[in-house]
């Protein structure tokens, strides 16, 4: 199936050049999404490590921060 673009209000198939540009942005977004997921996972792990050390649940920690 051809990739579609909305070009200033007109729906049409993408040109080869546009597809190439699109693929670059898509790859960049995927890379950023992976980095974000990795960072969020690391943050969650670090948070859990601290909670374990303190002997608190996440809800109990949230109560302390309210």
């Amino acid at each position: 199936m051809n990739m579609k673009t909305n070009d200033n209000g007109i729906e049409r198939d993408m040109t080869e050049t546009e597809i190439e540009a699109y693929e670059i942005v898509k790859a960049d977004l995927e890379k950023r999404a992976k980095e974000r997921t990795k960072a969020e996972a690391a943050q969650a792990t670090a948070r859990q490590t601290v909670l374990t050390k303190l002997g608190l649940t996440a809800d109990e920690a949230a109560l302390l921060l309210d």
């Binding site: 699109y22 942005v25 898509k26 977004l29």
Partner: protein, 293 residues
């Protein structure tokens, strides 16, 4: 000259004729500097109001008859309001006369008048639509060119969309149809999802994220302010978005992406790309913020 009552046999002087003619070509003026109550002698004349403060011109009954009229002009900075005293005053327009505004007060009876305000230039709207609402369907990219001009400094993009799966919508600036793809986009995000708040910074990217699309075919709503894109200066972004993690819309998530495109370059448009290899369906519109009151 105030209205005269001539009697049979009276000799009309040249001075009287000249004065009457003058009222047609150079209307008799009654200059006021404070709120004023109309009198019968004001019939056929022109009232000018000049006051820095707000004033009123009050209309009472039994002073005028059907067909009488007079003009009211406001040359002061304070608004002048045509006010019903004991008479009624109706109008299709505003009764408040701004500086350099005016109109005709026309009596339909001794106790009723109609105020016909002259046409005035409408105040400039705060937001002016520069790209009419545009629908897109199954699009991987959305392009809008030639919308940033010197008429406005700052713009706001409104977009609502849904897609087949979760991924980011990202924006790149364009100039004369050429997309700025270099890694000059920098962003800081804050997010709230139930009681969890998160933040992240991402720099030296080739595009700026403006929103995340949530679950399959679930709508997200986004407003992105774009600062000074048409100036040869850094462009700022402030994307406020909320999206949903479920088709029931019971899991709203809010995100704000602040950022910039650091090149000192002027742009006239943008391209939005849907990530993840997905397409997106929805509508968008762009507005310019007025630079004048």
């Amino acid at each position: 000259m105030a209205l005269q009552t001539f009697t049979a046999g009276q000799i009309l002087t040249a001075a009287q004729v000249t004065a009457l003619q003058a009222n047609d070509y150079n209307q008799t003026v009654s200059a006021k500097v404070a709120s004023y109550v109309l009198t019968a002698a004001d019939k056929g004349t022109r009232i000018t109001m000049s006051s820095a403060s707000a004033t009123t011109i009050t209309v009472n009954t039994s002073l005028f008859t059907a067909g009488d009229s007079l003009r009211i002009q406001n040359i002061g900075a304070g608004a002048c309001v045509v006010t019903a005293g004991t008479a009624t005053v109706t109008s299709a327009g505003p009764l408040s006369i701004p500086q350099w505004g005016g109109g005709q007060l026309y009596f339909t009876s001794a106790s009723a008048a109609v105020y016909f305000p002259d046409a005035v230039t409408a105040s400039t709207s705060g937001l002016v639509c520069v790209k009419a609402e545009t629908a897109f369907s199954g699009a991987a990219t959305i392009t809008a060119d030639g919308i940033f001009t010197s008429s406005y400094t700052n713009y706001v993009l409104q977009i609502q969309a849904n897609s087949a799966s979760s991924a980011d919508l990202t924006l790149q600036l364009r100039a004369s149809g050429v997309t700025a793809t270099a890694t000059n986009y920098n962003q800081q995000k804050i997010q709230a999802n139930t009681s969890t708040a998160g933040a992240a910074r991402t720099t030296a990217n080739s595009s700026a994220t403006i929103t995340t699309q949530g679950s399959s075919n679930v709508w997200s709503f986004n407003q992105t302010t774009i600062y000074q894109p048409q100036l040869a200066a850094v462009t700022g972004f402030q994307a406020l978005t909320h999206w949903h993690n479920s088709g029931t819309y019971a899991q709203p998530i809010i995100e704000q992406w602040f950022g910039n495109h650091s090149l000192a370059t002027a742009y006239d448009g943008f391209i939005i790309t849907m990530g993840g290899g997905f397409t997106v369906t929805g509508t968008y519109a762009v507005y310019g913020y007025s630079k004048t009151v």
